[in-house]
């Protein structure tokens, strides 16, 4: 099949991006940021709290969604294990290490499991909005009015059930349409975690801050997809921390400055009995390091914003 003549013409070929969402900037030439206490690496723990309706829906099937013909008891219950058991192990692990985290929370989780949300808030953690439930996915196939309604519904229900108004947003599978950033701004969200192109916060042209939640460093990628052990995952987190801490002090190409290590956790993955120990050891290790600053997403964004 032949291609149209305009397949070799490039209307957006010019300096900068082929979109107007945000501007290009290379991290190592920006003014360095400094973290509280002179820490070199901000460690951002982000836990996804996900409820999967047993009947999948939405523009695409979220990662971790049902697999077998209806009714998929296997995947429904394995995912729910994370919210009943795994996440409580994580909360204990955070308390033991004396660290706080962000919890990206489906509105449905806040409505269904109020005792979980109560514990998350009582223990000093942050709630980030994470759609309605795991059918609440977004792509450009979702009509604009439906996307707007989905975001409004997520925020209204999450606030009603938890009593807090989140400032952050994580889309399911980090998937957005071309309108998402504007819709989030319209609904009072000040930062989002979907674009993985950077290692520090940066601002979109519409004013929303993007706080990059690295997919490569997630337990989903390393443990579930690449099938490494929890100990292998922890080794990678240490390798990442060590590199970032060295870079923060300045290396050949950069004068340094605060760096960030996002650790994205999933209760039904890292909250299993044979894996949780690796997380506990890692947290104890990092918490004992003077160059680590454990912070929630909102704290990192606030610290960064104050220095812009």
């Amino acid at each position: 099949m032949n291609l149209p003549a305009n397949y070799t013409t490039y209307p957006h070929r010019h300096e900068g991006y082929d979109h107007d969402l945000y501007e290009w900037s290379n991290l190592h030439t920006r003014a360095p940021v400094s973290w509280p206490g002179g820490a070199k690496v901000a460690v951002w723990l982000c836990v996804s709290l996900e409820w999967f309706p047993i009947k999948p829906g939405g523009p695409f099937k979220a990662p971790g969604h049902m697999v077998t013909p209806y009714p998929d008891y296997r995947h429904y219950t394995v995912r729910d294990y994370g919210s009943r058991v795994g996440v409580w192990r994580m909360l204990d692990a955070f308390r033991a290490a004396g660290v706080t985290a962000s919890f990206a929370t489906n509105a449905a989780i806040a409505e269904r499991y109020p005792e979980l949300i109560e514990a998350v808030l009582a223990e000093g953690h942050e709630i980030i909005a994470h759609s309605t439930d795991m059918n609440g996915t977004i792509t450009s196939d979702l009509p604009l009015d439906e996307e707007r309604a989905l975001i409004a519904d997520s925020l209204t229900r999450l606030e009603a059930a938890s009593g807090v108004k989140p400032s952050g947003w994580l889309s399911i599978a980090r998937s957005q349409s071309f309108h998402t950033a504007d819709l989030l701004a319209e609904h009072g969200i000040t930062y989002m975690c979907d674009w993985v192109n950077d290692e520090l916060p940066y601002r979109f042209n519409n004013g929303v801050v993007n706080l990059p939640l690295n997919t490569e460093l997630s337990d989903r990628m390393i443990v579930a997809t690449q099938q490494h052990s929890a100990e292998g995952w922890a080794q990678m987190m240490r390798d990442a921390f060590d590199w970032l801490a060295a870079e923060a002090s300045g290396t050949g190409y950069t004068q340094g400055g605060g760096r960030m290590l996002p650790i994205h956790l999933t209760p039904y993955i890292m909250g299993l009995p044979y894996r949780i120990g690796a997380l506990e050891e890692l947290l104890a290790d990092f918490a004992a390091r003077e160059d680590a600053w454990f912070a929630t997403g909102a704290q990192i964004v606030a610290e960064w914003e104050a220095q812009q």
Binding site: T8, Y10, H19, A173, Q176, F178, Q226, W243, L244
Partner: protein, 298 residues
């Protein structure tokens, strides 16, 4: 190539045993070239009926921003590690990057890197192109890189590895000297081309899919440490074979900054480069000089 034939006739069969002697400079036995892919993926490319650009409707946020990490963060991290251990890059370049983010291309040029074309964008595929369109992307590549770096490109790695039956013949006609698209050997080999309109000889330089960081991480799911071990084993074996047979081998390390430049991978990668660089059997070379050296010995 022989279009439509079961054997495309790209090259002749040469057994790996008893190859002609080939000495690399300074008594080295394995030429190691590092090939960073400096790419631009469009956020909303036009459709090509033969291949879909992005798995998700545009914008595919993770797909796009994952690649964008190279051009904001990890290119410099990767390049710095390469420079520290004396490895120049031979760049597989989406030439439109010269227009979008000239700073990235300039950084490679300042480091003395060589550039070859990887198409205009990694989201424009050659499948289905007319001869006129294919000539247009070749001429565009030559002009764009010349303007941005002063270099006349001599090599080609097809955009997203998409070819047409006429690609290799056209490359020879435009005086390219090497292609990175054929994976049949661990040494430089002659490529059979039809040169109806002049041009020169075309050679195939071993690039690699197997030790490409994309395969290591996204196909085989290796850790950074496992990938670094693979690179060292690959080098040890090729250097030993080159030494034993007297016929120099070639090892390519194809990279993408958004993969190798992730903070959990770059440290082990640096250790692999340190090990390879310290081995007296290693010739740290650019693609063009490897091909030239081989050609002079023919």
């Amino acid at each position: 190539m022989r279009e439509g034939a079961p054997d495309p006739g790209l090259y002749d069969y040469h057994a790996y045993r008893d190859r002609p002697k080939l000495e690399w400079p300074g008594g080295t036995t394995c030429a190691v070239w590092v090939a960073p892919n400096l790419e631009y993926y469009e956020i909303d490319p036009p459709a090509n009926p033969h291949r879909k650009s992005w798995p998700k409707p545009h914008p595919d946020v993770v797909g796009f921003s994952y690649r964008d990490h190279s051009n904001r963060v990890s290119h410099w991290r990767m390049a710095d590690v390469m420079s520290r251990h004396g490895f120049p890059g031979s760049v597989s370049l989406s030439v439109a990057l010269c227009d979008h983010h000239p700073e990235v291309v300039a950084d490679g040029a300042e480091r003395g890197w060589e550039f070859f074309s990887h198409g205009i964008y990694n989201t424009r595929y050659s499948y289905g192109m007319s001869e006129q369109q294919e000539r247009a992307i070749i001429e565009d590549s030559i002009e764009t890189v010349q303007r941005a770096t002063g270099q006349r490109i001599r090599g080609w790695l097809a955009p997203a590895l998409t070819h047409t039956p006429r690609t290799l013949d056209l490359l020879a006609e435009y005086d390219f000297t090497y292609t990175c698209d054929l994976y049949h050997d661990d040494q430089v080999q002659a490529v059979n081309v039809v040169r109806s309109k002049g041009g020169g000889e075309l050679a195939s330089i071993p690039y690699s899919l197997e030790v490409n960081d994309h395969y290591g991480f996204n196909v085989y799911g290796m850790s950074g440490r496992e990938y670094a071990d693979c690179l060292i084993k690959q080098f040890e074996r090729l250097a030993e074979e080159g030494e034993r047979t007297g016929s120099g081998t070639v090892m390519c390390i194809p990279l993408h900054a958004y993969l190798i430049g992730q903070p959990h991978r770059i440290g082990p990668f640096e250790e692999a480069l340190r090990t390879i660089a310290a081995d007296p059997r290693c010739w740290k070379a650019r693609a063009g000089e490897i091909v030239d050296h081989w050609r002079a010995a023919q």
